[in-house]
Symmetry: C2
Subunit: 103 residues, 2 copies
DNA sequence: TCAATTAGTCAGAAAAACATGACCACCTTA
DNA sequence: TAAGGTGGTCATGTTTTTCTGACTAATTGA
């Protein structure tokens, strides 16, 4: 009898990594909001009641590292930084809608 | 400016609950294995290296509570208990395959 | 010049998730 | 009758995640 998953970072279960990057207290909401409009840091901090800088900062970074969000700086004064969906991120939208459809 | 998510159990983001029930150290693997064959407790405990009774028990319960797995007792001696995908659980399989496709 | 905005980082505390070992009941085989 | 399998629960401890408050730096408006 073979044992699965010698370690829990195993990618024999390919959806697991994606599920991990999307899970957490704020990431689903950040992803969802990003499908509507680009995200801005202090704006999110005000909108997401109960959130905090540290967690939002980490969540945005993880979503960006996963290739779902891209970060770009607008040359305004003061500088504004926007996080918006990448191509990969956009590809996920209809799949999420299907998931929501069967809840 | 309206604030979103007065509490973090909010269902204004419907995928969030589902994402939550599928996230965690063992649940993705349990779901995946359940797409192949019904799950049995001690069998999982042996197969999933590094797992433990407490966590598997909790994970199976959460997946069952979410309506993705159903629990039934086989009248064998000794009794065997099987967890298998519900209709809802089966509906999620192709959606997960799409997600995996774009990783 | 002082307060407030922009977007964060850092250290430490609190909360949540996960693991460990003891224990339970039932049944079977030796 | 003792050991080992079935499928768990419970209390406790460890590890990971999340939150809090202090701090940074540049820019704007009063």
């Amino acid at each position: 009898m073979t044992t699965l998953n010698a370690d829990n970072t195993d990618d024999n279960c390919p959806a697991q990594a994606l599920l991990k990057t999307l899970s957490g207290k704020w990431k689903p909401q950040l992803f969802k909001l990003a499908t509507i409009a680009p995200l801005r840091f202090n704006n999110l901090l005000r909108q997401l009641e109960g959130s905090n800088k540290q967690s939002l900062s980490a969540a945005l970074k993880e979503l960006a590292d996963a290739g779902l969000l891209s970060k770009h700086t607008l040359q305004t004064k003061p500088l504004h930084i926007e996080y918006s969906l990448t191509k990969k991120g956009k590809l996920m939208i209809p799949i999420f809608e299907e998931l929501e459809g069967l809840i």
